[in-house]
Structure formats: structure tokens, C-alpha cells
């Protein structure tokens, strides 16, 4: 692993552990990640017994060379964006661990598990109420969005 930056070394380790023990319903595109450790595509399956059962989604992770101090940029991509009250139709996800509550102890695996659980707990498939406005006006990078989380005291 010579010649890798500290962020690439950590990503290499995460990739290895996801290859050895993939969480249920989560599958990394290893060839793509190995070509460029800073850009991953993850295939995700809607869990059985949830509103998303049988659906397949694609998540894109982009890492900066400050990872894991900087959170990854995580969006849904492809032609099936889950219909969910915290997921915009452009693939942006409103999830506090992706911005304000990020910690370097979190990982690709823990982000995937949070997203799986966010999908699994959904009671009604619908877009966020401000979807149309947000999608028209937001920055391409969801990390530039200043999200309001309900526990936000600012």
C-alpha cells in the first residue's frame, strides 16, 4: 500500500472489509473503487418487508483527500431514486451524519447502514415537501446545503 495518501489508505482498508463482510443488501462496485479510491458506487437493495422491497438503488460516494476528517459526499444516482421524505428527486439525502454530525469514527459501512435503516423505517413513500424548490435551487454538492435538522439549535 505504498504511495497512498492517509485517506486512500483508510479507504483501502474499508474496501477490504466490505469485500470480506458486506452488510446485507449492500454491494460495492470493487473494480470502480479500485480504479479510483476517492469515488465509489454502491448497489443497495430495498430490504424485505419494507416499502422498498425488490427495488434496487445506486449510491455514489465521493471522498476528499481530507477523509475521514471531511464527510463523504453521498447521493443516490441512476434511474431509481428512492421516494422518501428525506430524499430529494435529484438524489440528495437529508441525513445529519453526512454533514453536521459527521465523525471520523463513522465509515462507508455505517453510512450505508444508516441509509438502509432510514429507508426501512419509512411509513409512506413521498418526496420532501420542498422537493421542487430545492432541486431547482440547490448546489450540485449536497454538502453545501445548510440543512435544518430537527435537533438543530442554531
Amino acid at each position: 500500500m505504498a504511495g497512498l495518501s492517509p485517506s486512500e489508505r483508510r479507504l483501502q482498508k474499508e474496501l477490504m472489509s466490505l469485500m470480506k463482510e458486506p452488510p446485507p443488501g449492500v454491494e460495492v462496485d470493487f473494480d470502480l473503487a479500485e480504479q479510483n479510491l476517492l469515488h465509489w458506487i454502491i448497489n443497495m437493495e430495498g430490504a424485505a418487508g419494507t416499502l422498498y422491497e425488490g427495488e434496487r438503488f445506486q449510491l455514489q460516494f465521493k471522498f476528499s483527500n481530507k477523509y475521514p476528517f471531511d464527510s463523504p459526499e453521498v447521493t443516490f444516482v441512476g434511474n431509481n431514486i428512492p421516494v422518501h421524505p428525506h430524499i430529494y428527486s435529484n438524489g440528495h439525502i437529508c441525513l445529519s451524519i453526512l454533514t453536521d454530525d459527521w465523525s471520523p469514527a463513522l465509515s462507508v459501512q455505517s453510512v450505508c447502514l444508516s441509509i438502509v435503516s432510514m429507508l426501512s423505517s419509512c411509513k409512506e413513500k413521498q418526496r420532501p415537501p420542498d422537493n421542487a424548490f430545492y432541486v431547482k435551487t440547490c448546489n450540485k454538492n449536497p454538502k453545501k446545503t445548510k440543512w435544518w435538522y430537527h435537533d438543530d439549535s442554531v
Binding site: S96, Y134, K143, K146, W147
Partner: protein, 148 residues
């Protein structure tokens, strides 16, 4: 997770960019959005993070931020450090995901979580919380300051 509304207040990033951010948001619908890199920062000068997502060089810091960062450096330097002696309780640094090797420089947080000094100091300059348990480290430190 929350109600997914955007904060409408101006953020530090758009203040820094000045008129650029206005152009950025109004041209968003046309063609591929122009993804902007953070402001170029001279490689030689150190950068600071007044909050986790904001990166600035010394020259870009406000006086208030400079005081905040100076205090923070002082606090961090008061956290105990040591060299890894092979103790089995702490084995891996969750930041770099590398196992501790005998002789590695470590830093111990008040919550007893342990990290490589170089790894945790980089994080503490952004956020004074333990990455593993989210326990704020400054509260405990301030009390020890006062009793000394």
C-alpha cells in the same frame, strides 16, 4: 435527520466567496452546475477550521476566530499523551483504522478513548468532540484548568 428544509441564513462559505456565490446559484439550472473548489490556499501557510466544514488560512480568519483557535490549541495541548506500550485495551485508532504499534504517540481523551496524536489533533482542530462517543472534550478540560 430532520424536516429537510434549507437554512436560509448566509453561511461562511458564501460570505467568503462574495459575488461568486450569487452567480453560482443563479446559473444552477443552465447546463452542468459549476462545481466550485474551495478558495485557493497557499500551500505553505497552515489552514484552520473554525468549524468542521470551514477551511481558512490565518489571513482569512477573523479576530474572533483567531482567539477561538488559539484557545483550542491550548486546550488540546493539555490533553494527556503517551507512547503506546502494547496495552491490550486500546488496539486500533478508529480514525486511520490502523492498529497501534509499540512506540506510537497517542493522545487520551477524558472519555478514555485513545487515538494517534496526529490523527486526533487534526480532528480536534475542527471539533472538540470524541469521534467515538461524541463526548465534548472541552468541558472536562475547563474544569481541570480551574482546579489547577
Amino acid at each position: 435527520m430532520g424536516n429537510c428544509l434549507k437554512r436560509s441564513t448566509t453561511d461562511d462559505i458564501s460570505l467568503l466567496r462574495g459575488s461568486d456565490s450569487v452567480r453560482e446559484s443563479s446559473s444552477e439550472q443552465l447546463g452542468p452546475p459549476n462545481y466550485q473548489e474551495p478558495l485557493p490556499i497557499q500551500a505553505a501557510s497552515p489552514v484552520y477550521h473554525p468549524s468542521p466544514s470551514v477551511t481558512r488560512s490565518v489571513a482569512q480568519l477573523t479576530e474572533e476566530e483567531q482567539v477561538k483557535i488559539a484557545k483550542r490549541i491550548g486546550l488540546i495541548q493539555h490533553l494527556p499523551t503517551g507512547l503506546y506500550d502494547g496495552c491490550k485495551k486500546a488496539r486500533e485508532c478508529v480514525i486511520c483504522m490502523v492498529e497501534f504499534l509499540v512506540g506510537d504517540a497517542l493522545r487520551y481523551l477524558p472519555c478514555m478513548h485513545t487515538y494517534h496524536m496526529s490523527c486526533i489533533d487534526d480532528w480536534l482542530m475542527r471539533s472538540l468532540t470524541c469521534p467515538s462517543c461524541m463526548e465534548p472534550v472541552d468541558a472536562a478540560l475547563l474544569t481541570s484548568y480551574e482546579t489547577n
